[in-house]
Amino acid sequence: MIIAQNISRYFGRVAAVSDVSFELPAGGAMALWGSNGAGKTTLIRCLLGIIRCRGEASIGGINTRRNGRRARALTGYVPQELAFHEDARLGGAMGFFASLRSVPSARIGASLAAVGLTGHEKKRVRDLSGGMKQRLALAIALLSEPPLIVLDEPTSNLDAAGRGEVVETLRRLRSQGKTLLFASHRPDEVIGLADRVLVMERGRIERDTTPAELWPTEKPVQVVRLHLEMARESDAADMLRAAGHAVHLNGHGLCVAVPRDRKAAPVTVLARGRIEVRDIEVLDDVNLPEVVS
């Protein structure tokens, strides 16, 4: 579905994306994983032909630079920063995007229903919460039933319940054969949705792997997110790895896979190294072998 060959994008002398190549087959689900500034968003924009880049990208065999319009017709996109015309009403916004995609207006109601926004058509966009805007973006992405859905941190503005609903929607879309490409900072999402993970750092692909390899364990695990002083995150990650933990530093704290019955173990390790943990967030219950099997 997606073929990226030597994609590079520079901002001045800084390489936002550097020589990235990968293939994502139809029906597959790939997560882009990495810290803030790793190049995930820029890579997505390059792939969709929104910004110019070096290299070649195609969606469904259509070159996104030479024929971006056709390539984007195969794609539903949910951006990281949701920007709609604030004065527009939700129904009006849907109507506009339906006309851009030549979708019959009868389908608008079904798309809104799919993301739980039925009954909000008359609300102005500025009156919607962040989560509702995110769901609106998902509804727009689903309007034309594209075979490829590209999402840039689709749950970043959602609470736990909203997050679960979106993940469930994406899981169902996947089961219907849709191809998913998404950037995420949440291990539970990556584990629950992706069959491949591209780990990016400083614009490059560090690893092309699977969630099971990224968070290896034989036992049922949970992922905890540790919040600590940013300047000490790197030291903490090294310390936890040395203690045998699988750790990922993704710009939103340290994500550590821990056995279900030893969630406090990383805190103990860090306390020994005199690193203070400010907060612990236990992410959604995840059983790696079940999810990835």
Binding site: L48, R52, Y77, A83, L100
Partner: protein, 295 residues
């Protein structure tokens, strides 16, 4: 979220091809037109233009020592300077805010992620704003014209209609310049600032510059005429005067030269110049916008 299954039951087409080019452009035009009609600037400019146009048509009679409404011809002459001030300002600022505003709000990126080209976005927005501008002008001219027809009869109505046509050409020309400024600017405030400077230059500075240049460089009449025509406001003024008087003799030696040299083709030359101001900046805007490597 279980309703996803409902979504799948709605008959749809998988988009093997993008929507028709014209359909996407029209969708942008419709939205832009609706947004403009609902905006405060549209209301303000329309109201101001209408009040001033009716006021000018009333005051036009005072020049001949009478009170009440003048005829269409005299009103057209009276409206000339008002249009040269107000219409370029309306069109330049509306155009300048269009793309730069979308870029600043972050909405442009999302629009460009849809199955549309940059040219469609630009032309759609241009068409929508142009339609709103024409609508605004038609309301102003319509109210003024209705009052005139009621109080002063229909003498000189052809000159008035020519004025409406030239004003529309001037408006879309200035809108093109505004769009060009907009695609080249990152921020809406910068685009509006540049638009205001260009308005100032066209309305005031170019006349002063032409006068100074003709004195310093001892320009010949044909050179002065050539330079004057480059300013779309001067082209508009000359075209309106020709439609009212049949010649440009009232403008002195330069006008007499233009009238005698170009004769019947003078008005078409001026209309072509205004047309070029509509097309050339818009084409430049399309090229610049399409070649931008970022949003």
């Amino acid at each position: 979220m279980n309703r996803v299954m409902e979504l799948c039951c709605v008959p749809t087409m998988v988009p093997a091809r993008p929507p028709a080019w014209g359909g996407g452009t029209l969708a942008f035009a419709r939205r832009e037109f609706r947004d403009a009609l609902a905006s405060k600037w549209f209301l303000l400019y329309t109201l101001a233009f209408t009040v001033l146009a009716v006021g000018v048509s009333f005051l036009s009679m005072s020049g001949v020592g009478a009170q009440g409404f003048a005829g269409f011809g005299r009103t057209a002459a009276g409206l000339l300077n008002l249009i040269m001030l107000v219409v370029p300002l309306m069109a330049l600022t509306a155009g300048a805010a269009s793309i730069a505003g979308e870029r600043e709000r972050g909405t442009l990126l999302y629009l460009l992620a849809q199955p549309v080209s940059r040219t469609q976005v630009l032309l759609g927005k241009y068409t929508g704003i142009a339609a709103a501008l024409v609508c605004s002008l038609c309301i102003g001219f319509g109210v003024s014209g209705g009052v005139l027809a009621w109080r002063a009869g229909s003498v000189g109505v052809v000159s008035y209609l020519f004025l409406v046509g030239f004003t529309v050409l001037l408006a879309v020309g200035m809108l093109s310049v505004g769009m060009l400024i907009s695609v080249a600017s990152r921020r809406s405030s910068v685009a509006t600032g540049i638009a205001l400077f260009i308005w100032l230059a066209l309305v005031f500075l170019s006349d002063l510059g032409l006068m100074a240049g003709s004195l310093i460089f001892k320009l010949r009449v044909q050179e002065i005429f050539g330079l004057a025509v480059l300013n779309p406001l001067q082209s508009f003024k000359m075209a309106t005067i020709v439609s009212l008087n049949g010649s440009l003799d009232v403008l002195g030696p330069v006008g007499a030269y233009a009238s005698h040299t170009l004769g019947g083709s003078l008005v078409w030359t001026l209309v072509a110049t205004l047309g070029a101001w509509s097309v050339a900046p818009l084409l430049a805007a399309v090229v610049i916008f399409a070649r931008r490597t970022s949003v």
